[in-house]
Symmetry: C2
Subunit: 312 residues, 2 copies
């Protein structure tokens, strides 16, 4: 596959449906980090997260027959909302399999965007089986939150926008959970940056991506006890080879480092970001020597957070 061409097509394809989000800077955060930071604010993206890009790119490539049957995914997070909203924008049905114990507010957000919520038990297997059952019944097309190539490519468009505004970035960094954002970012940085390596921040508590890069095979997590709820998933067979090839390093951060970085972003940039977004910034603060005096682009992944349940 010609990734460069796919990225360019994706950008053109999805641009009517997404925001070219703003890039924020802060002199004080630069001083703290000892680097020049450019925050790409996907918290201002439609439905509040970068996931809108990948979902839109995937859904727009369905055939007419597929469109009449709709799409199905399993997610309790931002991808659920992204697929629901992207589907509504295009005029197709979206079946969203969500665990029974998903907070009501998240179900309502999906329903608010016109998605059809289907409840499952909360184990990964139960979710996949339920999605499979919906597929069988409806003929809908399955879209994976982070491992489908059109989704990965779509996520890369945030970096294309960032590099267009700031072509001389010397490093890019994202959080890594399922690997869709990281894979897409690494491809975009490779094809559209000028010698701009890609890094990731990952919570120590779910360091499967870090271990996967070390071992050379996809590792999983025994526990997923992190505040960064968007990063509890593991890499997939499509994004892992991309990450192996194009990602320079993964930097693991503790829960307290994530919370401290999140607080700095809220206080200094005056924006609401979810804990997962703070993981990339926490990694920059942890590994200062690596980024010293460099121009660093950070993807702030999203801003969907429960204000009644903040860590500070």
């Amino acid at each position: 596959m010609n990734f460069k061409e796919e990225l360019l097509k994706a950008q053109k394809r999805i641009s009517p449906y997404i925001h070219n989000t703003p890039v924020l800077t802060s002199r004080l955060l630069n001083e703290i980090a000892g680097a020049e930071l450019y925050f790409k604010c996907e918290n201002f993206q439609k439905m509040g997260a970068f996931k809108m890009r990948g979902a839109t790119n995937a859904l727009l490539q369905l055939t007419d027959v597929q469109k009449t049957r709709g799409v199905v995914t399993h997610s309790s997070g931002n991808f659920a909302q992204a697929v629901a909203l992207a589907a509504r924008n295009i005029g197709i049905k979206a079946y969203i399999v969500m665990p029974k114990n998903t907070p009501q507010v998240k179900k309502e957000a999906v329903i608010g965007y016109g998605g059809i919520v289907i409840e499952s038990e909360s184990t990964p297997i139960a979710r996949e089986e339920k999605a499979e059952a919906v597929l069988q019944e409806t003929g809908a097309t399955f879209v994976h939150p982070s491992n489908d190539i059109p989704v990965i490519i779509g996520q890369g468009t945030a970096t294309m926008e960032l590099l267009k505004a700031h072509p001389d970035l010397e490093a890019l960094i994202t959080p890594v959970g399922g690997g869709g954002l990281l894979g897409g970012t690494a491809l975009a940085a490779h094809y559209f940056g000028k010698n701009c390596p890609t890094f990731a921040g990952e919570p120590q508590e779910v360091d499967d991506a870090y271990r996967s890069l070390k071992s050379g095979k996809i590792e999983s997590n025994k526990t997923t006890d992190t505040i960064a709820d968007g990063l509890r998933t593991q890499l997939g067979d499509n994004n892992f080879p991309i990450i192996q090839k194009y990602v320079s390093a993964i930097i693991c951060v503790s829960e307290s480092e994530i919370i401290a970085a999140m607080k700095l972003i809220w206080e200094r940039l005056k924006i609401v970001v979810e804990p997962s977004s703070a993981v990339a910034f926490a990694a920059v603060l942890k590994d200062k020597n690596r980024f010293k005096n460099k121009k660093v682009g950070l993807i702030l992944s999203g801003g969907n957070v429960d204000l009644a349940n903040l860590p500070f």
Copy 2:
């Protein structure tokens, strides 16, 4: 005084020292309000609030002799930081009288911007006496947080920027505390808007401005028990006549309405604003009929908030 000319001069004078802050919109908030809302984000202003405009405008008009002696103000809030930062930008001394019981974090913010903190007892009279003593000792020039004409004019520049970007606004609304922002906004809307009346939101708990407009003289508050800590002050003799002449109405809102509006702004615009900022939006939601289907500009006054002490 030719206010129009002063506003134009102020805009030119302060532009190297301030941000032309972004304007945010939200389809969902428009639906909730039944109006088309344009949020002028002064929470993204330098030091985090519109006060930077007025302070800068006032300090830049000092004579060379005055500059050598510095400035003094009394404030425990955003104006303290604004004067400290504006003074540092211009290269002069700033003496900031703050009550002893001011939270340490606020004192440190002023010191961080290079201001000289001078403690006083916490009564208004004690603060004024202390400021007077500093004046006598240093020969510094006193700058009032909301009642000096250059400060009032400086605050109006936010509305000039907003009207330049959206010339067809049909109403403007700000919070009102000391009246500097409201006075400056009303002047700017009068001279640069097209039939664009100005309104204010005010906490019911400190409704002195509302009562002042009714009685025709400056009223004060017996208690100031509101979460909107920037709005606990009362109108001054310079801004009151401007407000009487150019402000159409003041809409009072309850504490729970302020908190609900603040939460909506955080959740939907994904930005951090202080409670005072939410008062204008709360007023729009309270008096929906007045703004129905209109294009309304709201000044979000600032984003300096204690994250450890949120109302939700």
